[in-house]
Amino acid sequence: MDAALTLTLVGISHRTASIAVRERYVVQASDLADCVRILTQSEGIREAWLVSTCNRTEALVVSDRGTQAESKVRAHLFRNLGDEQLYAYEDVQALIHLFRVASGLDSLVVGESEILGQMKRCMEQAQAAGTLGPVLRPLLQQALHVGKRVRSETALGTGTLSVARVGIDMAGRVFGRFQNVRALIVGTGETGLLVARHLKESGIGELAFVNRTLERAVEAANELGGSAHPLGDLTRIATRADLVVSCVEAETPLVTPASFDRKLLSRRDRPMVVIDLSVPRSVAREVRELDNLLVYDMDDLQRVVEENLRLRGDAGDATSSILIAELHKFLALRTYASFTPAIAAMRERFQSVREEVLDNLTHGKAAPESIQIAHELTKRLLDAALDSMKEGARNARSEESLDREYRRFLENL
């Protein structure tokens, strides 16, 4: 980083503040541009960026060293908020935090990728407001790159953590595409509708709703497309379905072996899938014994969710090394960029010395070959000097020291 500038990040997130607090400090998308513009109008603050989602609101500013950037951001965005609910980082620590946020490591659901889109939208708004400059623009682009790299090279973003989604993924292992699949949703409560929406997104061929109250089934069918049936039709509809998802509250199981025609079931080309998302279970245990039928309940699906969580946790080490490598790359680039005025001055000086020496030696009558040789010589000398500077920039912050800094950051979380 440029020695004359400081990078400061101040914010609140699900780690430090409850939802009741967070919702008070949310910055609406329509106010975001004004907010960052006002921040840059504060004395000493040169660039500003702000991200505000349901889980975090945080501002990243570049200021002249010595400016009390943290207090200015606090006064502007987090007035009346206690210290324990806020976090503030400077320079490398701020970079680490930003890269962790982009990677989804700081998210409520670790590895989720929505944050990348949110960061990008906020970046575009700050760009339109003119509050991004030579430091924040490349930094945010780098952060987005880190987020994408972490998700593509590690298991951090793999596997879903939603039980309903896992259930549909399981059905996908049988049917592949859902275009030719007939699904029956038993129960049109919140979970039933969520599953139906997921199925709709997956391109389900046919959707049927069965509910105790027919009106609610009709509402669901009208909203999501499909047919509505009373509970009494369960056996008839279940027999011709490929996928049955049960999400009802019932004291005794609603879906029993009697709900299926055994003969038709064993004649089916592909197995039928029954997913029980109810607690207590609404699919009788005996249904598992039927031929050509696969049954999954909450326990089965929860196991998959836990496995996905474990895989995401295991991705931590790989993620750290990517983060440190990217930090190193960014800092080396920034250090080299801070040499730009010196490089320009050096180039000018080299050229003037060359002209001076040529004039002195040839009294203004240098042969074209001599001029070319002199040009080549200065170019090579300059290139050698620039290579040394690049090397120096790369070594300014070793990966080992960044690794230590990263560990310190994690310890203080």
Binding site: M170, R173, F175, G176, R177, S266, D269, P271, N292
Partner: protein, 276 residues
């Protein structure tokens, strides 16, 4: 020419290994665009080079290049890779390729290691019906191998799903529907090829009045049985109660029976084949 044949004989097993590894990577999970492209082109290049190997051999033996057990095995490998390539392209999935091509690597490695590097000229030239008989039967074997392997994979995946075991090694296999499609596709190609190959074989046996040939011979009966068997698998969708699970089981068992049948046919004691 001989140097080219030797170079190809040595290269082919490595190429099949490369294909198996690249397809195995797909089995382990979704890969980048570059790896996918490499996977597709490596299989295409291997098939083309294997075809070149046969052409070189054909010009050296002055006739149909399949003359011994090693070249027959290599021919089956070639045909299997071809059938798999066609089926995988049609279903747009490479998940089971690592297994199929891994088997092909072992078979090709053995064919290259134990076959003659430079074959001598054919003792007797083959007529067109004989070439057709061999080609279709080899293709049938390849298709049935692909069908049987996918049938076995179907059973394996279904078993793990019944136990609600998700993730792990089987998680990147194609879905059950796709496995069933490849299994039936292989069976259909196998059925059609056996139909042609078997009838041409019978025609040849009658024309040549081959001693020892009869419809009650074990290998002939087995071939006919397989013809009916894979025909039933290929059209199992239209047979009541013969669902994908049963068809997959039948395909796996059919493959085992076919291998047995093949062993009998290629066994030196079989008189009418030794005459060919």
């Amino acid at each position: 020419m001989e140097a080219a044949l030797q170079a190809l004989s040595v290269t082919l097993p490595s190429l099949y290994l490369l294909c198996a590894i690249l397809h195995g990577m797909a089995f382990a999970g979704q890969r980048g665009a570059r790896t996918t492209l490499l996977r597709v082109w490596s299989l295409r290049a291997t098939i083309v080079l294997h075809a070149a190997w046969f052409l070189t051999r054909a010009s050296l033996v002055n006739g149909f290049p399949v003359i011994d057990l090693a070249s027959t095995a290599s021919c089956v490998v070639f045909a299997s890779a071809l059938v798999y390539g066609i089926l995988a392209r049609s279903v747009q999935h490479a998940g089971s390729g690592g297994i199929v091509l891994g088997m092909m690597f072992i078979a090709q490695w053995m064919a290259s290691a134990f076959g003659d590097m430079v074959p001598g000229p054919r003792p007797s030239a083959l007529g067109n019906p004989q070439v057709l008989h061999i080609t279709t039967m080899v293709l049938a074997l390849a298709a049935v191998i692909v069908s049987g392997v996918h049938g076995a994979l179907y059973m394996l995946l279904l078993k793990s799903m019944r136990k609600a075991e998700f993730g792990g090694r089987l998680s990147h296999l194609p879905d059950l529907e796709l496995l069933a499609r490849i299994m039936r596709g292989g069976a259909l190609i196998g059925f059609l090829c056996i139909t042609i190959g078997m009838n041409v074989g019978i025609y040849l046996a009658h024309r040549e009045q081959l001693p020892g040939f009869g419809y009650r011979r074990g290998e002939v009966l087995l071939t006919m049985l397989l013809w009916v068997h894979f025909g039933a698998i290929a059209f199992s969708r239209h047979i009541k109660g013969f669902n994908a699970r049963r068809a997959s089981l039948a395909a796996g068992l059919g493959l085992a029976v076919l291998l047995l049948s093949l062993l009998l046919i290629l066994f030196p004691a079989v008189v009418f084949h030794s005459r060919l």
